[in-house]
């Protein structure tokens, strides 16, 4: 647990996209997923990752159903005005330090959805995520590769699925 806390602390010092050296250590971490208003494409791929035989637990990745015990807040979707209070509430409920992951083009910068009356242009501009995973949608393989980098497991092992 000390290691993961150290990792998160390192991530929050604003080092992006290069990850701090401390992330090379092996470990496990947990995620709380919030779909902040997308087409469900990334959310469905995360569902595939969790239940489609990709075995994320094998790579030290656990999904939690409450934010309080999660290490990372995982955001998919474009960040609608209506979902931002929910995102903030989830973030506030997490133990510190905590990390923020933007998965998919929408969560990163809005993707095809630029700012309008209903949406923000993703997280970019509001906050600097600890990790951004590009894609539309993000595939389970891309997701595992990116997160394996955090854990120091190496991308290749994550490809096995």
């Amino acid at each position: 647990m000390m290691k993961i806390r150290a990792l998160l602390t390192g991530l929050h010092e604003g080092v992006f996209p290069r990850l701090p050296e401390v992330s090379r250590g092996k470990g496990e971490f947990s995620l709380f997923h919030v779909d902040a208003g997308g087409c469900d494409g990334c959310a469905m791929e995360i569902e595939s990752l969790r239940y489609g035989g990709w075995n994320p637990e094998k790579y030290g990745l656990h999904f939690h159903e409450t934010p309080t015990s999660a290490d990372f807040l995982l955001i998919t979707g474009v960040c609608t005005h209506a979902m931002m209070p929910v995102v903030r509430a989830a973030w506030a409920a997490m133990a510190r330090p905590a990390g923020l992951i933007a998965a998919g083009a929408c969560a990163m910068d809005g993707g095809p959805f630029q700012r309008n009356y209903a949406t923000l242009p993703g997280l970019r501009g509001s906050v600097t995520p600890s990790l951004e995973i590009p894609g539309c949608p993000v595939s389970p393989g891309d997701f595992l590769s990116a997160l394996s980098t955090l854990l120091g497991n190496g991308g290749s092992s994550a490809q096995e699925g």
């Binding site: 709380f32 997923h33 919030v34 779909d35 902040a36 208003g37 997308g38 087409c39 469900d40 494409g41 959310a43 469905m44 791929e45 995360i46 569902e47 595939s48 969790r50 239940y51 489609g52 035989g53 990709w54 999904f63 939690h64 159903e65 409450t66 934010p67 979707g77 474009v78 609608t80 005005h81 209506a82 979902m83 931002m84 209070p85 929910v86 995102v87 989830a90 993707g111 095809p112 959805f113 309008n116 009356y117 209903a118 949406t119 539309c136 949608p137 595939s139």
Partner: protein
């Protein structure tokens, strides 16, 4: 509902009794397009009254900023559009006789501020009070915020046997971003309400003035579970305006994609129902079967997503190493065959597992029943309607399915078990269709391209397709080659209130299984 808005069931015009929707609409002043008629307030009210006898004709209601437009579709495929210009901020509600119109009326109020007089529920539907303005698409938007949430489902007593269950919009689970509220009395759901709008992205508004290519991309982001259906329907509306027909090979490829999308969607629903019914093994096997389909798709197409493969004028098959369409058709042929074989093999194992898994059917039988009358009144389509005895499927009338010997299956019971049985049956039929389309692809003319570039003309178009969850429909007005007005209908709009009704009487531990058996997409309903 206020009685002051009710009129006699028959309407008299110029001494003649008008009894049908068509008669009333066609009495209006002709306007553009040729299938649209301008109705005054009295005629619009009359339309609402007569609709009681022909509710199934209602297809959609939207606003273009100044006018309220309603679409009616007959089983023959004929469509008529009624157009009404409100003199003030109100217009007579159609939902007084057609419950299916209510969500549309609430959305119009949220976005444009026009209020449907006589509607029994005018609470915000998609405005959750977080937008910087209210009525954002009105000529004069209002101040920020909206009325405080006035939930329909609440507790009315201090009885210990009554409590509220609230989940969402972020549960950490796979369910979409909506707030689900259920009141529970004596350990059974006594009321259910789905609060949505959290995923509203203003897709229709974004399409206004966008290029058609951008609009097709946006149509593909309405809901990932119905990408092909929405992009196909949008493209078909544009193609209809221009009188353009895609090639036979492109039509077959679109149909292959549509069937793959149906299989992926149905497998996901079945996996979720099993998971929420605590049937771990069937849930895992269904998810893995879905993943296997995606792996085959990925191997053939180099990607896992069906997004942006249906484009204006045909299909887009991204294969950088292959330049000619004959080779591309070969890839689609192999894709269709491989997925058909895989689905056949999967169903051979999964169906018996589903039926024999200890306690699964016993738990789900009789849960969340929906009767055929409710389905008709609410304009519900798709597998949920077919599981309640309404055996309609638009594919059976559309090319290339029309000559495919399609057997539209249906169930009678209308409960979760019937809905799941329907999904299994449709997957089996999709596998058969994939084999058939693969065979047809070997005979199509090799010199016909998969995509024609054409120049869209201005005008109005209408298109309708059968998506995985039901009917997807588009009415589109193109001006200077760009969308000037658009209505997009997704079946989830009708499925969500139907699911809420079906949850009454369900035990709390079965709520998620019942809800997921309806297969709706919150993202699609919110847009």
């Amino acid at each position: 509902m206020s009685d002051s808005y009710r009129l006699p069931a028959t309407v008299v015009s110029s001494g003649k009794k008008l009894r049908s929707v068509k008669e009333i609409i066609c009495q209006g002043e002709k306007t553009s397009p040729s299938w649209a008629y301008l109705l005054g307030e009295y005629e619009w009210r009359s339309l609402g009254e007569v609709l009681e006898e022909e509710r199934y004709l209602f297809s959609g209601l939207w606003c273009d900023g100044q006018r309220i437009l309603a679409l009616f579709r007959w089983r023959s495929g004929e469509v008529l559009m009624a157009v009404h210009v409100p003199e003030g901020p109100r217009y007579p509600a159609l939902s007084t006789t057609v419950p299916a119109a209510l969500p549309f009326e609430r959305v119009i109020r949220d976005l444009y501020g026009f209020e449907a007089m006589g509607a029994e529920d005018m609470r915000p539907l998609i405005n959750r009070g977080a937008w910087p303005v209210s009525w954002p698409l009105a000529l004069r938007p209002g101040l920020a915020g909206c009325e405080e949430d006035d939930f329909e489902v609440r507790l009315f007593s201090d009885d210990d046997r009554e409590f509220l269950l609230i989940s969402g919009p972020a549960s950490g689970a796979s369910e979409a971003s909506a707030l689900f509220r259920q009141s529970v009395s004596d350990l059974k759901v006594s009321g259910s309400e789905t609060i949505r709008g959290f995923t509203h992205r203003g897709i229709a508004a974004r399409m206004m003035g966008a290029s058609l290519e951008e609009a097709v991309v946006l149509a593909g982001r309405i809901a990932a579970s119905a990408v092909v259906a929405h992009q196909w329907t949008f493209c078909a509306a544009v193609e209809q305006i221009s009188g353009f027909q895609i090639s036979e090979s492109a039509l077959l490829v679109r149909a292959v994609f549509a069937e793959i999308e149906r299989i992926l969607s149905h497998f996901r629903i079945l996996a979720r129902v099993a998971r929420y019914a605590d049937a771990g093994l069937p849930a895992q096997r269904m998810s893995e079967a879905r993943e296997a389909v995606l792996q085959v798709f990925s191997e053939c197409m180099g990607r896992r997503s069906l997004m942006d493969m249906v484009v204006l004028g045909g299909v887009n098959i991204p294969s950088p190493d292959i330049e000619d369409d004959v080779a591309r058709i070969g890839i689609i042929h192999d894709l269709a065959k491989n997925i058909a074989d895989l689905v056949d093999e999967s169903l051979f194992v999964l169906r018996p597992l589903w039926q024999s898994y200890p306690g699964l059917l016993v738990r789900l039988r009789g849960l969340g029943p929906v009767c055929s009358e409710d389905v008709m009144v609410r304009g519900v389509t798709g597998p949920v309607a077919r599981a309640s005895g309404l055996g309609r499927d638009l594919r059976s009338q559309a090319s290339p399915w029309v000559n495919a010997g399609m057997q539209v299956q249906s169930q009678r019971e209308g409960d979760v078990v019937a809905r799941c049985r329907q999904l299994f049956a449709e997957c089996q039929e999709s596998a058969r269709l994939l084999n058939l389309f693969a065979e047809r692809l070997t005979h199509v003319s090799a010199d016909v391209p998969l995509r024609h570039i054409f120049h869209p003309e201005n005008g109005w178009g209408h298109a309708v397709t059968e998506g995985p969850a039901g009917v997807v429909e588009v009415v589109l007005h193109l001006k200077e080659g760009r969308p000037a007005s658009v209505m997009m209908r997704d079946p989830s709009v009708e499925l969500i209130p139907l699911a809420d009704r079906a949850l009454k009487g369900v035990m709390p531990e079965d709520i998620a299984a019942v809800r997921n058996s309806f297969g709706f997409s919150i993202s699609a309903a919110d847009m």
